[in-house]
Structure formats: C-alpha cells, structure tokens
C-alpha cells in the first residue's frame, strides 16, 4: 500500500472518530446520530428496497443530464472555439446562462414545462451546458491549426478527424468538463428532486426534513455520496488513465 493511501484511510478514520465523538458529546440522535446509527438506517432502507429505488431514480437523472450537457456543451464549445464570428454571436448568451443561478433555471423549467421528468433533466442540463461550453471552447481555441490544415489537405473523413485529431486534442478539456460537470450536476439534481419530483434522493431528503429525521437525511445523502465516490474511483479515474496512457508511455 502506498504511503499516501495509508494517510487517506487514516484521515477518513479520524473524520469518523470526530463525528462519533461529537455525536456522543451531544448524546441526541435527533441532532446528530452516530456513524453506526446512520449505517443501521442505511441497512434498514436497503432491506426495504427504498434506498435502491431512490438511488436509481437520482442516478438516471444525473447520467441523462450529464450526457446531454457534455454533448450539447461540447458541440457548442467546439464551434465557438473554432469560429470567431459564431463566438461573437453566442458569447453574450453564454455569459447570461453562466450567471443564471441553477435554482432560477429549475423553477422556470418546472413553471414552463411542468412538474415532470423532462423538465427536471432539462433544468439540470441547462445549468451545466454553459460551463462545459466554456471549457471546451478554450480547448478548441488552443487546438493546432496546422493539424486541422493537414487533415483538410489529406482529406481525412469527418469521423477520422473526430477520433484521431479533435477528441484527443480536446481530451484534457473534456476530462476537466466531465469532472466539474459530474460534481456539480449531482448536487443540482438533488435540488431538482427536492423541489418537484416524487422520488429520488433529493425527494427523500425533503421528506426526512419534514419529519425532522436527521438520521434519515444522513443515510440517504451518504449513500449517494458513496455511489459518487465509487463512480469517481471505479469509472472516472481508470478511464482517464486509460485514455491518457499515451502521455505515460511518451514519458517512459
């Protein structure tokens, strides 16, 4: 085991110890339950099937909004980075959307589209698209015009350009957009659910809040955090390493 991994595990242990001590000091589960009480609540919710059901509902919204925001924001960012004229046209829109609070977008989407799944995913997507556009636009601006010219002269098909030139050139920016996007989107999804969906972790937190059940709030919230951490370590980081392996090979 690497030394920094050991430090991380030890640090996590210290956090749990601090939480447990504070809970023992307050000695009121209504205010702050202990880690073991939250764990037992999570286990109970799992056995009832409620945890899985709500995790799946939230997870679906996160992935749908994330995918759409990456595709739409990526496409806009690329064309804006490549065309100064288009950038001049669209930049004011981008600035407006960048500065529009997610909460406003959520409320407006629910008011205009209705309290439905489409409005929920749309609101989250719209909140994230401007950020993705900004990051990818930067990547497209920095892309090599010489490579683009070579691709034109050698008449590379669009798919070959996308696969071998555009995507690898944008890769660091795509990773950056994906990372910031993922960390922001799941938090916005909870707000969307809190305000207007019948299921999902956000809705359950709303319900537990109405019941003043801190243990329930922590059980749902931490379950989702665990899922996000799993995705980060099991999917995001390994794919990043795999896609960027040429850098490691080149350094070798």
């Amino acid at each position: 085991m690497r030394r920094d991994t050991g430090i991380r595990i030890f640090s996590l242990g210290l956090f749990l110890l601090f939480w447990g001590s504070l809970s023992a000091f307050l000695s009121d589960p209504q205010i702050l339950p202990s880690p073991s009480q939250v764990l037992m609540e999570m286990s109970a919710l799992w056995q009832k099937g409620k945890l899985q059901e709500n995790l799946i509902a939230t997870g679906w919204r996160v992935f749908a909004a994330f995918g759409l925001a990456m595709i739409i924001g990526g496409a806009f960012g690329y064309v804006m980075g490549k065309s100064d004229e288009l950038d001049a046209w669209l930049d004011p829109w981008l600035i407006i959307f960048l500065n529009l609070p997610a909460l406003v977008l959520i409320v407006l989407c629910y008011l205009w589209v209705g309290l439905n799944e489409f409005a929920a995913v749309l609101a989250v997507t719209l909140s994230k698209v401007p950020m993705t556009t900004t990051i990818i636009r930067e990547g497209a601006r920095n892309a090599s015009w010489e490579l683009r010219d070579l691709a034109t002269v050698y008449r590379l098909p669009a798919l070959t350009r996308l696969r071998h030139i555009i995507l690898p050139e944008l890769f660091p920016h795509i990773v950056s957009a994906a990372r910031t996007g993922f960390s922001v989107i799941w938090k916005i999804v909870l707000v969307v659910e809190f305000l207007g969906r019948p299921n999902g972790i956000g809705r359950q937190i709303h319900t537990q809040f109405s019941l003043f059940d801190v243990t329930g709030v922590l059980a749902y919230a931490l379950s989702f955090v665990v899922c996000i951490l799993f995705i980060e370590f099991a999917i995001m980081q390994p794919s990043e390493k795999r896609m960027g392996r040429w850098r490691a090979n080149a350094k070798a």
Binding site: L147, L150, V153, F171, W246, A250
Partner: protein
C-alpha cells in the same frame, strides 16, 4: 499539373498578393522566396486549397502532400499510426518501407514525444512522401534545424522527390535549400508583393 492564375488575394480590403501565375508540369520543382510577411505561406495555402478566398483560378491534382516547419504529429498516436491515419490506403509494406527509409523502422511503436527532434522531422517527411502524391508542398520545413540535420533532411527530401517524381513547391528563405533540391526560384518582391520573374538556378 498545377495551374494558378491568382489575380488578387486581400485581407480586410488590403491587397497582399497580385498577378501571380504558376504553370507547373509533373516533376517540376520551384522554391517561393522572399522576406518574412510577404505572403509566401499565404500563396502556399492557396495552392493547398486551404485558403479559397481569392480572385483567380486554381487547378491542382486531387492528391496533395503538405509539410510544415513544425513536424505537426499526432502526439497521442505511435509513429506508425501517424503514417496510417493520414494514408489509410497505404499498405503494411509501404508504411514499413517509408519508416525504414527515414531510419525509424525500429521506432514504429514509439510515440512522437519519445523521438528526438530530428526523428520527429524525419517522421513528418515520411508522412509527406508515403504515397508519392503528385503535388508536394513544403512550408519552410528545414528552418531552425542544425546544419547536420538540415543536410540530412535535404538529402532525404531529394531522395523522395527523385523516387516519386512529384511536383514540389517549397517556401523558403534559403537559396541553398532550393539548390540542394534542384528547384527554380520564384521571388516575391516587397514593393508590390507580386511575382516579377521566374529565375532558374
């Protein structure tokens, strides 16, 4: 082979190139010379079909090869893949042969950043000449090279040109390079930025 009747090329209403006429046959080699900023690269981009905003007529073969001053390689692909991606129709033997000719046969699976500057330049040269395109455009490919590498690159380029009988247009500041490649010089003058004469060396 290559016919260019360039009446006018302007940027923001300001004319930069006027009355340039080129009529080259298969195997011709010309060097476009002149001071920096006069429009040599612009002229090359027009010939390459990368700049289409000009008044005049351009006729070139379908297949064109291009090489810049920088190697402009795909850093995320191996040396061999760098050749294959730009020449999908080239066979295994042709790719191997091209790598061998530039002394990179053993480096086929290396990434460009694992190669020296000289090796990167040679790889770019192999990509340029892999399929013996009828028209080869070279945009100052020998600038800022040390003398021995420059001489090696010139000799390899000459070898490739002799093999392929490609028509070559070279943008350069150096008469030596034009001579080494057996090219006729085409001078762009600064006063009116137009071609004055075709000088055979």
């Amino acid at each position: 082979m290559l016919k260019l009747d360039l009446l006018c090329k302007s940027f923001a209403g300001h004319s930069v190139l006027e009355d340039i006429h080129l009529d080259l046959r298969q195997g011709d080699r010309v060097a476009v010379m002149g001071p920096s900023g006069i429009g040599k690269t612009t002229l090359l981009r027009i010939i390459a079909g990368l700049d289409t905003r000009f008044r005049g007529v351009r006729k070139t073969p379908d297949e064109i090869a291009l090489m810049f001053q920088n190697p402009t390689l795909l850093n995320w692909r191996t040396a061999e893949e760098n050749l294959r991606i730009f020449h999908p129709d080239a066979g295994e033997r042709e790719v191997r042969q091209a790598l061998k000719q530039v002394g990179l046969e053993e480096k086929a699976s290396h990434y460009p950043q694992q190669l020296s500057v000289g090796q990167q330049r040679r790889l770019a040269l192999a990509r340029c000449f892999l399929t013996a395109a009828p028209l080869v455009l070279l945009d100052e490919p020998f600038t800022s090279l040390d003398p021995s590498l420059r001489s090696e690159m010139l000799s390899l380029t000459r070898e490739f040109l002799d093999q392929s009988n490609s028509t070559m247009v070279l943008v350069t500041h150096s008469h030596d390079e034009a001579i080494a490649l057996g090219a006729r010089c085409f001078q762009l003058f600064s006063e009116k930025k137009k071609s004055a004469e075709l000088v055979a060396i």
